[in-house]
C-alpha cells in the first residue's frame, strides 16, 4: 500500500524530498527512505530522469520512432533480438507491440544523418529484422504525462469566500 502510494508520488515528481514525501503521506521519513530503497532493490524503480523540452535547448536533438518487423526462427526469440538492440545507447526505448509491426523503438541522436546512419548500419543489418520504418519526431507536445506548454496561469481571485 505505502509502496504503491510512494510510486505514484515519485511518478508525479521524482524530486520530492523524502521529508516532503513523509509529510504528504502517513509514513515517517525513515519508512519513506526504506520503502524507496526496496522499490529500487526489487527493480520496480529502474531509474529517475528529467523530462526535457528540447525546443528550449539550443543544441539540436533528433528523435525518431522506428517500426521494426522481425522474423523469428527456432533459435531466436523476441527477447534475443531485444537484447541485441537494447545494448545500443542510441536506443532510448524498445517495446514489443501488437499490430502491424513487432517492435517500437525510439532512437535519439544529434542529427538526422546520425540517426539514419545508425539505423542503416546497426539496425537494418540484424539478420532477423525484415523491415524498418523510421518516423522522425517533428514536435513534442506531451511527454510522460508532462505538457510542453503551460497554459494554466492562475487567474483566480487572490482571496475568495
Amino acid at each position: 500500500m505505502s509502496k504503491r502510494e510512494l510510486l505514484e508520488l515519485l511518478l508525479e515528481n521524482a524530486r520530492y524530498s523524502t521529508e516532503d514525501l513523509a509529510r504528504m503521506t502517513d509514513l515517517d521519513e525513515t519508512e519513506v527512505v526504506s520503502t524507496i530503497e526496496s522499490l529500487e532493490d526489487e527493480g520496480i524503480i529502474r531509474g529517475y530522469q528529467a523530462v526535457v523540452d528540447w525546443n528550449e535547448v539550443d543544441e539540436e536533438r533528433v528523435r525518431a520512432s522506428v517500426e521494426l518487423n522481425v522474423k523469428l526462427d527456432r533459435e531466436t526469440s523476441y527477447n534475443d533480438i531485444s537484447e541485441r538492440l537494447a545494448r545500443f545507447p542510441e536506443v532510448k526505448t524498445l517495446r514489443l507491440v501488437s499490430g502491424d509491426y513487432d517492435f517500437e523503438m525510439v532512437v535519439e541522436g544529434e542529427s538526422m544523418q546520425e540517426v539514419s546512419k545508425f539505423i542503416s548500419d546497426k539496425v537494418a543489418p540484424v539478420p532477423e529484422i525484415t523491415q524498418t520504418v523510421t518516423h522522425y519526431v517533428m514536435d513534442t507536445y506531451k511527454d510522460r504525462g508532462i505538457r510542453m506548454s503551460e497554459d494554466d496561469d492562475d487567474d483566480r481571485l487572490s482571496i475568495s469566500p
Partner: protein, 378 residues
C-alpha cells in the same frame, strides 16, 4: 439613491478588505482562495464547447434539463444513498449560492430564526437577513467546529425555525460523521426545525465517506440538501448547483427561481451532465492531490508547533494563530511575508483566533507559503 433597509443592515464582507490588501502586493502566495486550483475536467469542458457548437444556447426547463436531473438523482443515490425523484424533488440552480438564497426566501418567514454554526460560510448570515429572518449563531469552537446539541440548546435553537449548515465545512474543514449527525437530527425532529444542508464539499472527504443528514430517519421530509459541481468538479465559474427536497419545498423554491433566474446556465448544465457521466476519475485524482496537500500542511503546522485540528474535509485547515489575534496575524503575515490567508473571525465571532488556510494551491506554492509562515512566527 435610497438603499433598502434590508441591504443597509448587512455589512460588506470582511473578505473584501483582505482581498484589496492582497491585490496591492506583488509576489503574494494566497492561501485565501475558496475554490479549486484545478480546471474543470477536460471532458466536461469539451462537452460545453460541443454544446455551443451545436447551438445549444436557449433556456432550459426552469428546474433544469430533465436528463441532468436524472443524472443527479442517479449520482446522489449511488454516492450517498439519497433518493430523489428527478420530476419534482430536484431543482438545478445557478450555484448552491442561488439554491440557498431561494430556499431561505421560500421556506423562511420574516421574523423567523435560522440557526447557523459559527464560524460559517460568509453568505449564510446575509442570506438569512435578506430573507427577513434572523441568523442565530451557534458556537462550535469547543467541539472541533462540529455542531452539537449542547451548543444548539445554549444558543436557544430549540425556538428556531430552521438551521443552515455546511459539512464538510468552509472555513474549518470539519466534517460531521453519521454518529455526530444523529443527535442533531433528533434535535431538529423534536423542535420541528427545517434543515438546510449545504453539502457542496461532500465529495471532498479524506479517509471517510460523507453522510447526508437527509438519510437519517425522519429527516428527508424536513431537509433540503444542496450540492453542485463547483468544488468536486472544479467548475466554480460555471455556476451550477442543485437542491433536493420534498416536492412542496422544491415547488416553492421553483416559484422564486422561475421568476428570478428562469433557468440555470445552459452551457453549464451540458458540462455538468458530462461531468456526472464521465469525470469520476478526474474527481478522484483531485481528491488524491488535496489529501496529499492536506497531510503536508498539517505536518508543517505540527512541526512549527501551531495547533491545528485534523480537518477531514473540503480543502481548508483552520489553525490557531499564535497570540490569538487572527486579524493582526493575517495582516502581518501578508505585509511581512506576502502570504494571504483569511482570519477566522471573518466567518463569525467563534472563528476568532484562527486562520482559514486553503490548500487548493499547488504543492510548490504551499511549500513556499509554509516556509514563509515559519519564518514569520520564528
Amino acid at each position: 439613491m435610497k438603499i433598502s433597509e434590508r441591504v443597509r443592515k448587512v455589512p460588506p464582507s470582511g473578505i473584501r478588505r483582505f482581498f484589496e490588501l492582497a491585490e496591492e502586493m506583488d509576489d503574494v502566495i494566497s492561501l485565501g482562495v475558496g475554490e479549486p486550483d484545478f480546471s474543470a475536467p477536460w471532458g466536461a469542458r469539451e462537452a460545453a464547447i460541443a454544446s455551443l457548437e451545436r447551438g445549444k444556447t436557449s433556456y432550459t426547463a426552469n428546474r433544469g434539463k430533465r436528463e441532468l436531473r436524472e443524472g443527479i438523482a442517479k449520482h446522489v443515490d449511488e454516492r450517498y444513498g439519497l433518493t430523489y425523484d428527478p420530476d419534482d424533488e430536484i431543482i438545478v440552480t445557478t450555484g448552491v449560492s442561488e439554491g440557498v438564497d431561494v430556499a431561505l426566501r421560500a421556506l423562511v418567514d420574516p421574523g423567523d430564526t435560522v440557526a447557523v454554526p459559527d464560524p460559517s460560510y460568509v453568505s449564510y448570515g446575509p442570506g438569512i437577513t435578506f430573507a427577513g429572518a434572523d441568523p442565530l449563531p451557534v458556537k462550535t469552537s469547543d467541539h472541533g467546529f462540529k455542531l452539537t446539541v449542547e451548543e444548539l440548546q445554549r444558543a436557544g435553537a430549540q425556538h428556531a425555525d430552521a438551521m443552515l449548515f455546511c459539512y464538510p465545512n468552509n472555513p474549518t474543514g470539519a466534517i460531521m460523521t453519521e454518529a455526530e449527525l444523529e443527535p442533531i437530527a433528533e434535535f431538529a425532529r423534536e423542535n420541528d426545525l427545517t434543515v438546510l444542508s449545504d453539502e457542496i464539499y461532500a465529495d471532498l472527504t479524506y479517509g471517510r465517506e460523507h453522510t447526508s443528514i437527509a438519510t437519517l430517519p425522519g429527516m428527508r421530509e424536513r431537509t433540503i440538501v444542496f450540492n453542485g459541481f463547483s468544488k468536486a468538479y472544479a467548475m466554480t465559474g460555471l455556476r451550477l448547483g442543485y437542491a433536493m427536497g420534498p416536492p412542496e419545498a422544491i415547488e416553492a423554491m421553483n416559484r422564486i427561481h422561475q421568476y428570478a433566474m428562469l433557468s440555470a446556465p445552459t452551457t453549464a448544465q451540458n458540462a455538468a451532465l458530462e461531468a456526472l457521466e464521465s469525470c469520476d476519475d478526474d474527481v478522484q485524482r483531485m481528491v488524491t492531490q488535496y489529501n496529499r496537500r492536506r497531510n503536508f500542511v498539517l505536518s508543517r503546522f505540527e512541526e512549527m508547533g501551531i495547533d491545528c485540528f485534523e480537518a477531514e474535509g473540503a480543502f481548508y485547515v483552520f489553525p490557531e494563530v499564535p497570540g490569538g489575534d487572527a486579524e493582526a496575524f493575517a495582516e502581518g503575515l501578508l505585509e511581512e511575508q506576502q502570504v494571504a490567508a483569511v482570519p477566522g473571525d471573518v466567518f463569525g465571532e467563534d472563528g476568532e483566533g484562527h486562520l482559514r488556510v486553503s490548500y487548493a494551491t499547488g504543492l510548490d506554492d504551499l511549500k513556499e507559503a509554509m516556509r514563509r509562515i515559519e519564518s514569520y512566527i520564528g
